[in-house]
């Protein structure tokens, strides 16, 4: 184990997998010479050369489409979109092609592709650079969606995603890149896709979250503990496959649930999780499920009001108290 940042853990995963398998290739805007706008691809060009680590034109749809074609040709591309906001320019290749090809060709094609994309709000980057679009991808069958919250998971999930034979949207949170944690240095360490992680055990209420919101949930749980409230925190790790079994089991145990997601509330990840809770744990629920989410607004720039649009620790604390105060 070594303490390292989420950024360096991702970098380590890329390097290990590229050493392990020569069919793993990396490209994206500014990933080679410039070493990535968030420096996740630092050192890749130097170690693996320009045949495997490639800068691209600013052509997002083609970044993904070339990954699709090269996967059909036997490679395992792990490409980067500079931010998830630009994935909207690549939606045709992501949704109409990458997610469809295996199914519409009757299972004859395999697409081992990772599309890495940083996202999330909180850096005052304005409406076009602060989005959390995971629900868009989660909505669409045919692709996996990974949303790591810790450095260890960042490494383990990215390694699993690169080794997996399915296309994976790998959504990193920009505010987590500098977060630190213990990361196994073992090259065989992976975290399976589709297995949620109980980050903290508790008995009064289950907080279900992912990505940066899991870290926020842990902070809320620590605060609530001071008041004698015991929170269980379930980190989803991947939205597809979704580990329904783990979070429903937790809610059946605690009887209360708060779902925290950074994306917009309407048709957001929280809406889906909440529906699944009502479908699967209705009899166990002691109070209505509480949703904490981003506000349904385009993100404003000003620090003072941007904060209002993104879930804060106090929002999660308040929601937990709310769910504890209510009953059916």
């Amino acid at each position: 184990m070594a303490e390292m940042t989420y950024r360096d853990a991702l970098n380590m995963a890329l390097k290990e997998e590229m050493r392990r398998d020569p069919s793993v290739v990396v490209w994206g805007e500014d990933v080679a010479l410039y070493e990535g706008s968030f420096k996740v691809t630092r050192g890749l060009l130097a170690e693996f050369g320009e045949g495997r680590v490639k800068d691209t034109p600013i052509s997002e749809n083609t970044i993904v489409g070339v990954a699709v074609g090269s996967a059909l040709g036997g490679l395992r591309p792990a490409v980067e979109l500079m931010t998830v906001n630009f994935a909207l320019l690549a939606m045709d290749q992501i949704i109409n092609h990458m997610a469809k090809i295996r199914s519409m060709f009757g299972g004859q094609a395999t697409l081992p592709i990772v599309v890495r994309a940083p996202g999330g709000g909180g850096s005052q980057l304005g409406a076009q650079h602060s989005q959390s679009l995971e629900a868009f991808f989660m909505h669409c069958p045919g692709i996996y969606v990974a949303v790591p919250s810790t450095p260890s998971d960042a490494k383990g999930l990215l390694k699993s995603a690169i080794r997996d034979n399915n296309p994976v949207m790998f959504l990193e949170h920009e505010l987590l890149y500098n977060s630190k944690g213990e990361v196994p240095e073992d090259e065989d360490f992976t975290v399976p896709l589709g297995k949620a992680h109980i980050m903290r055990e508790g008995k009064d209420v289950t907080i279900i979250a992912y990505s940066r919101m899991s870290i926020l949930a842990l902070a809320a749980a620590a605060e609530l503990e001071k008041e004698g409230i015991s929170c269980e925190v379930v980190d989803l790790r991947t939205l597809t496959p979704l580990d329904t079994a783990t979070f429903t089991a937790s809610v059946k145990k605690t009887g209360r649930a708060v779902v925290v997601s950074e994306c917009w509330r309407t048709c957001g990840v929280g809406a889906e999780i909440t529906s699944l809770l009502y479908e699967n744990c209705f009899d166990s629920l002691l109070a209505p499920v509480q949703r904490v989410s981003g506000l349904d607004v385009p993100m404003p720039y000003s620090r003072k009001i941007e904060k209002l649009c993104i879930p804060q620790v106090e929002d999660a604390v308040k929601a937990v108290k709310e769910v504890l105060s209510q009953k059916y």
């Binding site: 034109p57 749809n61 083609t62 059909l72 036997g74 092609h97 295996r102 045919g142």
Partner: protein, 335 residues
Amino acid sequence: MESRLRAALPDYDLMKLYEQMVLCREFEESCAEQYTKGHITGFLHLYSGQEAVAVGATAGLHKDDYVVSAYREHPQALVRGADPKRVMAELFGKSTGMCKGKGGSMHLFDPDIAFMGGYAIVGGQFPIAVGLAFASKYRGEGRIAACFFGDGAVNQGNFHEGLNWARLWELPVLFLCENNFYGIGTGVHRASALPDIHRRTCGYDVPSEKVDGMDVMAVYLAVKRAAEWVREHSRPYLIEVITYRFRGHSMADPGKYRSAAEVELWKARDPIPAFGKRLVEEGVVSRDDLDCLQAKARTVVKEAVIFAEESPWPDDGEVWKDIYAGGEEVCPWQK
């Protein structure tokens, strides 16, 4: 008279070109009949009139070169070597279809013959062809990627991104534009500021040429030459093939945007009888030989229809299969 055809290809291969064009025509006309009978449903875009393009171009490629195409692609798969029975069964939506009945007319695919897909988002195939070419180059396979597309696709951003990318990364992509003058009902002059499509590649330093797509030999010779250039230089190249579809855009198209006289003019240039006439005139085959090939193609297509009719529908359980590699349990709560 000395045979110009024989100077280019042996008799067997010349006959093969004719045979393939006839098979494509018979197949497509049979599809129209099966659509009318309700056996083929959904979208159906037929290739009749454009046969010289698929046949001539495929003959100019290596067997293992990648081919990608759009949604008017039955002949490109057939000429590549797809079993007509499995193609027809796919169109019928049967479990024996090329893609188990999950793709349909617009989504044929068979990696065994390097036919890497029919794609139905206009221009969606450009980056895929570029990616296949990259994989081939990376793995040192010497295969090129041939990318068929229509005149309507050249105003998609993908076309321009793909040309730029293929040139920048020096990838062996042969862009094959089938200019049949219409993107559904919008004439090429009403959609492209510069309707001479082959001239549009100069902004990307990609060489190009224009070829008569009603002449199978012209297409074959141009594609063969271009494919070898692409392979040798690992660079993209574009051929604009001038052709015409005799039928509507799809079966739902009454074709009111073009005159009957225009259609008749092009039908008079039908590539199949034109090539047949040359074969007879230059002494490669007799008229009887041609009739024989026609009858053979008709039989093959008839057998394909019978096969499709008699094949079973997909099992209901197929709905959940083939979506994820190695995992059908991604959404178990929905089953």
